[in-house]
Symmetry: C2
Subunit: 301 residues, 2 copies
């Protein structure tokens, strides 16, 4: 990416995901205003050439495209629509890209408010976790207008290995929720299968080799079974964050009147894991719930 | 495979899976005795060079290796241990390969009975369905002694694209049950995710493209989503057969004291599908349960 002087960006939210994403934009030559609740990552980014914005409003006043990467729906609502929020500084023609994983119905409401001022919005949550953010290899699921998506594609190309426009605003978030349902349930699937196998005396590595090439094969199995058999639950993506996403799935599903019986049960399991102090583990650690039920650990015999 | 005169085989059970498997063994040059409850597939195989065995006992008297491919545990028990069963005709040193998908604890009991006469047994269930059986591309999960496995490997190489020795007798069946847990639950996972997406207004093909490359990707998603969006539920592998496997999972899990909360719920869902007359559909048709709950169909908008 060459420097694009027409696009001065702001990046709000320099957490585990946001900080490496902002760094990649700086490296790609973008001029970047940054804002974060705590000061330390702001100082780190300033050393690499970023300017500090004191408030989301100030960030919006000083850039054409404002990217947000925040924990959850209320944070995005507050940063965009709250006091000294983006909406107070934004002008018609500007673009807000929210890359947080939040309730898509909230994204749609926020986009509606911004739209009243002529400000465009994309919701663009990501998959790939901290490693994907660091390497600029996120999978980006985007909702919004095609014209705006195309305008922002150079930015997505810095941050991710793929960016797919799924539909209108909110569609990125719906796709992310669908993604998180599948990932959680596929982890539960290998958990139940491998716990049964272990109790039956199977070597989990041989079981893995016997079934991974068939219809049971999945990216979850390939990514998580080697870690599980080594008893490595270092995150990765924490159970407590996946739990946040599943809670957003269930809120959204209730709003849309979509019963999700298995996802409901997944949420009960995650709640139990949180109660058991396992929230900081990688989501592959979901297997610990099933192991506890059966009194066995999946490890090489 | 060249003809191996030392190995005269019997093949018992010429159903959807067994008939094409037997044909492949004939094509590979094996001398084959066949037996089946109904006469029609026996006649078909005879035209291709097979000999008819009137009973399992007679088959065992006339061959060194006896392969069974039968619907469920009681069928295998009856054909191996029942009146005029294999055990009445078998001699020490012979080998029974049961390729049916049955309860592994039943496989172990049958192997114990055969062992008293010095007859060896492998349990070797398969994955890949009718197309895999026809093409000789099954994935074969084998339990038994390594020496016996190696002796039978030329046969497995005719029938399948892979054969993995997972452990002692019963281990093949346990691996198959683990496989079937994962396949069923991964179908449920894409079902809940895509039904939510549909209700949210997403184009399922775009959703598929947006998430298939990430952690949510799976062989189930790649195999079933294109069929589902075309509303093609032609089997493939029928829901009623997958239901049989899940019932065997739950029986086995109860015997081994392994609680499987999600698989229990899958069984409730399959029971509802059977009650709704959907047992003959491909197991990708499990999505019909979730679609009915939400009042929507996953199809391209």
């Amino acid at each position: 990416m060459k420097k694009n002087d027409e696009q001065s960006l702001s990046f709000l939210g320099l957490g585990i995901m946001g900080k490496p994403m902002a760094k990649n934009l700086l490296k790609a030559g973008y001029s970047l205003n940054v804002h974060n609740r705590s000061q330390k990552p702001v100082d780190e980014l300033k050393k690499q050439g970023a300017q500090k914005a004191n408030t989301p409003k100030e960030a919006a006043e000083n850039s054409n495209i404002i990217i947000t990467m925040l924990p959850n729906s209320p944070d995005v609502e507050s940063v965009v629509l709250g006091e000294n929020g983006i909406i107070e500084g934004a002008k018609a023609g500007q673009i807000v890209i929210d890359m947080s994983s939040i309730e898509p119905l909230v994204s749609q409401r926020i986009a509606g408010e911004l739209g009243k001022k002529g400000v465009e919005m994309l919701d663009a949550p990501v998959s790939g976790g901290e490693p994907g953010a660091i390497k600029g290899e996120l999978a980006i699921m985007v909702g919004g207008k095609e014209k705006i998506f195309k305008k922002c594609l150079p930015i997505f190309n810095v941050l991710g290995k793929s960016a797919v426009l799924v539909g209108d605003v909110g569609a990125g978030g719906f796709a992310k929720l669908a993604n998180q349902i599948i990932v959680a349930m596929n982890i539960a699937a290998v958990s139940e299968a491998f716990v049964l196998g272990q109790k039956a005396g199977l070597n989990p590595e041989k079981l893995f080799q016997a079934i991974r090439g068939g219809l049971a094969g999945s990216n979850v199995m390939d990514a998580k079974i080697p870690l599980i058999t080594e008893r490595n639950f270092h995150p990765g993506f924490k159970i407590k964050l996946h739990d946040k996403d599943i809670k957003n799935v269930l809120k959204t599903a209730a709003d849309l009147q979509v019963p999700l019986p298995l996802t409901e049960l997944i949420e009960q399991i995650m709640t139990s894991l949180l109660a058991d102090g396992k929230g900081e583990l990688d989501h592959g650690g979901m297997i610990r719930y099933f192991e506890k039920l059966a009194g066995v650990e999946v490890r090489t015999l």
